[in-house]
Symmetry: C2
Amino acid sequence: MTREQLIENIKKKKSFLCIGLDTDLDKIPEHFKNTEDPIFAFNKSIIDATKDLAVAFKPNLAFYERHGLQGWKSLERTIDYLPEDIFVIADAKRGDIGNSSSYYATAFFEQLKCDSVTVAPYMGEDSIKPFLSFPGKWAIVLALTSNPGALDFQFIYDKDTPLYQRVIKRIKDWGTIDNTMFVVGATRAEMLSDIRKIIPDHFLLVPGVGAQGGSLKDVAHHGMNSDCGLLVNASRSILYASSGSDFESAARAQAESIQSEMETLLREKNVI
Amino acid sequence: MTREQLIENIKKKKSFLCIGLDTDLDKIPEHFKNTEDPIFAFNKSIIDATKDLAVAFKPNLAFYERHGLQGWKSLERTIDYLPEDIFVIADAKRGDIGNSSSYYATAFFEQLKCDSVTVAPYMGEDSIKPFLSFPGKWAIVLALTSNPGALDFQFIYDKDTPLYQRVIKRIKDWGTIDNTMFVVGATRAEMLSDIRKIIPDHFLLVPGVGAQGGSLKDVAHHGMNSDCGLLVNASRSILYASSGSDFESAARAQAESIQSEMETLLREKNVI
């Protein structure tokens, strides 16, 4: 999906919601557990209930790989099922030396037909660039993550610059605003203002709203640009809004509530 | 596999060779291409030809994921086929927030029954620790990699300490010498002396000998300890030693040549 198409979808749906498909067999309603492919069946219900409210879906590979071959099948079926107008993010956090990264890119862009994949920056240029040579496909690079461990290395200072800013400064020049996004956790929303000084136009993928405690309003305040420039992810708060037979309507209600707040924020910032 | 078992295998086989199963359909001999599972069939031949000369095998996940479901099947069959006395490394370079890392650990340690998995340090403590709570299983953390891009971030200095050393200093205390190794590229062998001052007893996984140009002698000189403390990987130089029908004997000859040099180095350092 191109940047223009993504922005058009955001304006049409009045939403910059990404729904994380962190689908956990231990948390989905009981009645799925006797079906032939419980993870796909649950995902299908969630997608049907929310697809008009979200612009992106983000399967987290860990939740599929833990089930081996069967998990990979559920992942393939889920991605196949997602509608054409959905931006698909493989949350895989890959990254390896050049030819290996090329094969990961093939795996996610050509085999699985995702629009984008999350990548880890530690191994540098030849680990990132192979993801940037597929037209209409995106690398979403970890910059400032939402977890407690982000403090361990991402804030190591080189002169006055913390590592996460150094990562953004270097990597923004390896690609363009048409093929590169960065991950910035909502739990550190106040830092979005500094990041916007470095990359005013890039899209940011923002996890950590909802269950992890980040505020959507703060994220929009510090991070939204004139194209929106944000994909804000919610996973558990939507997927497991109810564990009963009303899980679909509960998931939809939760997504509606987020979309409605997003619409207000998009209007306030004159994006729509 | 425990540290004691690994050391025993190194002494018994007089080898610290790890063979990287970077199996590339474009490079394997023609006659495999019409078989039902060419990647597994080729791996089986390589394993049969070299298993007495190596202590570890390391499938690189990128080469399997690029083939989707079929690739995952080839990976499972390959790991199942590896003998009991082989230390199995899933070269997957995973790492995510806590509960996702737990599921990656489940995927590689319980589903695929690998002994170890390579992990990326960028996301910090809660992304690494979930890999350290499985008895007899190992996290192999990227510290100083062998690729050109290693220079982009791994040498960012915090006061006098480059990032790769900071990574080692922090992470060595999250686990023990019984469940944590570090990746250090053979292309930077001279830095192994500095690393051994920080972690004299940890095992190091050293890629980059052979096709990437690193020297085994330099690696042993700067990095070997009294338990050996090294697993040195070779992939392409063994797998594609010949593209003809003599590929097995050529792979074995290449592995024998490395093992023989390793035996000399182990004797020189009084490990055996």
